[in-house]
């Protein structure tokens, strides 16, 4: 079957994560979004692991579902309801030095079953403290983490998380590994995939021939429920851990992994270079012109994802490897609605309109990709229909993100709005 999977999220036990990330809420929000398979996040945290054991029940091989008693089906519009499955996932922050340099790499781990996850937890609790953060910081070489993961079960999977972000990733500007192999050494062949992160999309990754053998996956890394599925994966295989694992490991010509749902990379927090505190946003070219130093404060400019890709790439910009997987670039529906109303994304009005849209048209994925534009116009508004159409066609303007600042999406030009209300007057 075809389904959407978002495998990297966090629990409330992780820093700066919303207390709303409970298992019942996740189950509910996955349905609103159109996700079928969701990572549990944070299985390394003892309290969250216990909660997983209590609130989830075994479903298909290696997967889990929320126990009936915890479900909130009545709060979910009938148009969105679906069966959600969970897969054991966790993220570990490895901070260590190798060859005289500090390395900071985040790694996503998918565990075969509860027993394998427990084994990983046992081994890691001998390395560091798993209790103080759902995404534990360990002074462990990524290669050794991979070894511990694979020793717990050869079917476990380790995936370098948001592989390009500057501060905490394998290929990022600060960790200074120039290939997956350099980081994971003799064990690198056990890695089936890399997570491309919000600030890069598949075409950027296609520019490195060294990445051809990896499945390029995308996940939300959500810290609050509304952020689920801002990036995700499309599978066409059986709903089970072994089938998902096989799909990630399969040859690129296989049709079990279909591709990814992507952020526009410009919207990501580290697409361009820059200095947030100085308000400096620079393209890779400009940064080189500044010799890497901020013209305002003189310190090093934070080198973003696009720049780093250019530094490591061995192919031109438009290269597309054979059998590259397709992808769809989307803007989260709540952001689109916020743009339509010209209000903040967290406002009540946006939430209300979001739920109204889902009730009328189906889950968010359907609204964003499949619902006919005319249908959206009839059920909700002309403005939303037009906005979705522009997003689908990629006809939007984005001020690229840099140094931790998200990119700013603009779907409508200021002159398209009526002066009086600041709202859309285009079609009225």
């Amino acid at each position: 079957m075809k389904f959407i999977a978002d495998l990297h999220i966090h629990s409330p036990y992780s820093r700066s994560t919303s207390p709303q990330m409970t298992l019942p809420n996740l189950d509910q929000w996955a349905q609103l979004k159109g996700i079928t398979l969701l990572g549990t996040g944070d299985f390394t945290h003892p309290a969250w692991f216990a909660e997983i054991g209590n609130k989830l029940a075994p479903a298909e091989e290696g997967l889990f579902s929320l126990k009936e008693s915890n479900r909130k089906d009545e709060e979910i519009p009938a148009s969105c309801r679906g069966e959600i499955r969970f897969m054991l996932s966790a993220e570990v922050s490895c901070i260590y030095s190798r060859d005289g340099q500090t390395r900071k790499v985040h790694n996503l781990i998918l565990a075969r079953d509860l027993a394998s996850a427990a084994k990983i937890n046992e081994a890691l609790s001998g390395i560091g403290n798993l209790k103080s953060d759902g995404r534990p910081i360990l002074g462990l070489d990524s290669r050794d983490l991979l070894q511990i993961t694979m020793e717990a079960s050869p079917e476990n999977i380790l995936i370098p998380a948001h592989a390009w972000t500057p501060h905490f990733s394998v290929l990022g500007a600060f960790s200074r590994f120039s290939s997956i192999e350099e980081c994971y050494g003799d064990l690198a062949s056990a890695i089936p995939a890399i997570e491309t992160g919000l600030s890069s999309d598949p075409p950027m990754n296609w520019r490195l021939s060294g990445l051809d053998r990896f499945t390029l996956i995308s996940n939300s890394d959500a810290h609050s429920p509304a952020k689920l599925m801002r990036e995700a994966n499309l599978f066409d295989t059986d709903l089970s851990y072994p089938a998902v694992r096989e799909a990630l490991r399969a040859d690129r010509n296989s049709k079990t992994f279909l591709g990814t749902i992507e952020f526009f990379p410009e919207e990501g927090k580290y697409h361009y270079d820059g200095h947030r505190s100085c308000g400096l946003r620079s393209t890779p070219e400009q940064t080189r012109g500044y010799n890497g130093l901020c013209p305002k404060c003189g310190r090093k400019i934070v080198v973003g994802v696009l720049h780093r890709v250019e530094d490591l790439s061995d192919r031109p910009k438009d290269h597309k490897p054979p059998a590259a997987k397709p992808f769809q670039s989307l803007v989260p529906l709540q952001e689109i609605i916020a743009e339509v109303f010209n209000v903040g994304v967290g406002s009540k009005r946006v939430q209300k309109e979001y739920m109204r849209t889902l009730s009328a048209l189906g889950n968010e994925y359907t609204v964003l990709t499949a619902a006919p534009v005319t249908g959206i116009a009839q059920a909700i508004s002309n403005e939303l229909a037009e906005a979705v159409r522009r997003v689908r066609e990629g006809k939007i303007h984005i001020d690229p993100g840099y140094d931790g600042e998200y990119g700013k999406i603009k779907i409508f030009e200021p002159e398209e709005r009526t002066l009086a209300s600041g709202q859309m007057g285009l079609f009225t």
Partner: protein, 599 residues
């Protein structure tokens, strides 16, 4: 035959290495390449002077130092495994001698080494009224033994305790050395055998020898006087265990033929740090003239931080470490706690250490690290058998090693253990420990510790490995348990830091009353000198960056300290440091996830 390693030594080091006959004292300041010199010397003895490795005895203060020396020598000699059998601590070498020779003293070869707890039980049987009294007695007995033949008489219950030990076929930690002394003094033929065997003796940390250890070395030193001692009077910090720095200073009187060589070039620390260390310790009177120097780059100035209290002290250290690593979580970048573009540099957690005077100071530091999620480990230097979890397991392991022995164990557990014994020649130590955890519900930490220790015996049945394993547990220290793959910030007392080095060192609690530590009232002049040496040891652990912290307010064991900076800080000249004052609440309280504290 390759003696290439000689080329990498400085002239003084080379002289020490090539001196192969007669008594030699190497006065080695902190960070002057002492271990390298010692290991090269042993390699040279084997390679060039043709000494049979079996004829070399090297005595170290810690198991870690012994292990490190073995590795380095094997490497120098191009061997996979070191041929040297006798590199070890005083206690482990003595335990080994006793396993061979002890029957003449009326003990069995499989005598047991008691834990603290067992010693206390024994004292209670010997007549101590309660545990507190037993503990006090034990302290006196140990002090008495470590001073060996002190003029003062034996403490109360001494003879009863010794009789009980013997009756149990048991020895305590201090006895290991005393029994060997008795053995050698009573049976000259046995001493001669060992003297003949150990023709070359090397002793590390000579300034820290207590009288029994000192006597043992001198008994064992044969007529050729091939005795090489290494040490540094400025790093003598074990007077409280009976060590006598005078032994070190009197070496030439003991061995008039002795040559004395000085290693003074420091390769570890920046010149700023070396200078500060010298300025502090040169105020002492009881020392041997030497001048440490370094020709490395000048280095960063030392930072002296005045903080409000111990909480702020811990918080500042944690945030400094985060900064040195260029931020440890997105949080630091999102909140600008770390400057954008700040280079994460070269450090890892294991490059940093926080030093303090007393173990009691560890708690607030641990809490701060835990809260920040930064891996740290407290290296208390504690003996393994003092850890509560080991107390639970040892009686069972002992019973398994020798079911004939009387053991205070519930009958149910005994029965299960007897059932387990059937596998003694089939299954491994790891299997045994797994089985044990089923019988008595070992907690996770204990299980992990035991498994780490057992991993040294992968290919043996537990039947054959158990006696050695028990001895490991008796002589081991908790540092033996750490997973070598795990990098973490090290928290440790200045005593435990001896022999270690770290690129970045924080020393905290540098206040009057704590440094020098005033146990009760005013420390004596001798005690102040010892404390100053301790501070010198602390400073010289740092390679690149040194932070010295003192607080305006601190409660120690329930009593407030005066809150004045340590007088030792005044000995460092102003050009070497930068002083900062941290006002209370200079940083807004962190807004973090409220759940974090709960678990």
């Amino acid at each position: 035959m390759s003696l290439e390693f000689l080329n990498e030594l400085n002239p003084q080091q080379r002289q020490a290495v090539c001196h192969t006959q007669g008594p030699l004292m190497i006065v080695a300041g902190a960070g002057t390449g002492k271990t390298r010199t010692l290991t090269c010397r042993i390699a040279y003895l084997v390679r060039e002077a043709g000494v049979d490795p079996a004829n070399i005895l090297a005595l170290t203060f810690t198991r870690r130092a012994a292990w490190e020396m073995k590795q380095r020598i094997a490497h120098l000699l191009g061997e996979k495994e070191s041929m040297l059998q006798e590199i070890g601590t005083f206690h482990s070498v003595c335990a080994k001698i006793l396993r061979e020779e002890i029957p003449v003293l009326g003990y069995d070869r499989d005598f047991v080494i008691l834990t603290d707890e067992e010693q206390i039980d024994l004292l209670r049987e010997a007549g101590a009224k309660n545990r507190a009294e037993a503990r006090a007695c034990l302290k006196q007995i140990s002090a008495f033994k470590n001073r060996h033949r002190a003029e003062t008489g034996a403490p109360p219950l001494f003879s009863e305790y010794q009789a009980a030990l013997k009756q149990r076929n048991a020895a305590d930690f201090d006895d290991l050395i005393l029994l060997v002394l008795r053995l050698f003094e009573t049976y000259p033929e046995i001493l001669n055998r060992y003297m003949d065997r150990f023709r070359h003796i090397l002793v590390d940390e000579y300034q820290d020898l207590n009288p029994p250890q000192y006597m043992l070395v001198h008994l064992l030193t044969g007529p050729d006087q091939n005795l090489c001692v290494v040490g540094d009077a400025d790093q003598a910090i074990y007077a409280f265990r009976g060590a006598q720095v005078e032994n070190f200073l009197n070496f030439q009187e003991d061995y008039p033929r002795a040559q004395i060589l000085r290693l003074e070039q420091n390769y570890r620390s920046s010149p700023v740090i070396v200078k500060a260390a010298e300025q502090v310790v040169s105020r002492n009177t009881l020392r041997m003239e030497k001048r440490l120097w370094s020709d490395a780059e000048t280095g960063e100035r030392i930072r002296i931080m005045e903080v409000g209290d111990e909480k702020q002290e811990a918080g500042w250290i944690v945030s400094r470490i985060e900064k040195l690593l260029g931020g440890t979580s997105m949080f630091h970048h999102d909140t600008d706690r770390v400057q954008a573009g700040e280079d994460p540099g070269q450090y890892s957690f294991s490059d940093m250490a926080v030093l303090f005077r007393l173990r009691a100071q560890a708690r607030p530091l641990q809490a701060a690290f835990e809260q920040a999620g930064i891996p740290c480990r407290f290296l208390s230097g504690e003996r393994l058998d003092r850890r509560p979890e080991m107390r639970q397991v040892r009686p069972m392991l002992r019973f398994l090693a020798d079911p004939e022995k009387d053991a205070v164990l519930p009958a149910m557990i005994k029965a299960s253990l007897i059932a387990l014994s059937k596998n003694r020649e089939q299954s491994s130590l790891q299997d045994l420990i797994r089985e044990l955890s089923g019988i008595c519900n070992l907690d996770e930490a204990t299980l992990r510790s035991l498994k780490a220790m057992a991993s040294h015996y992968p290919d043996q049945t537990w039947g054959s490995a158990l006696p050695f394993f028990l001895q490991d547990l008796s002589l081991g220290r908790e540092s033996d348990l750490f997973d070598p793959r795990a990098q973490a910030v090290t928290l440790l007392t200045m005593h435990a830091a001896k022999g270690l080095e770290f690129p970045v060192v924080f020393i905290c609690g540098l206040e009057r009353g704590l440094m020098p530590y005033a146990r009760d009232g005013n420390p004596s002049a001798d005690e102040i000198e010892e404390e100053r040496r301790l501070f010198h040891v602390g400073i010289t652990r740092a390679m690149k960056e040194l932070y010295l912290l003192h607080a305006r307010k601190r409660i120690l064991y329930g009593k407030p300290l005066p809150g004045e900076p340590s007088p030792f800080l005044k000995d460092i000249e102003e050009a070497l440091f930068q002083a900062n004052i941290l006002q209370k609440k200079s940083r807004p309280p962190q807004k973090e996830n409220p759940q974090l504290g709960l678990f």
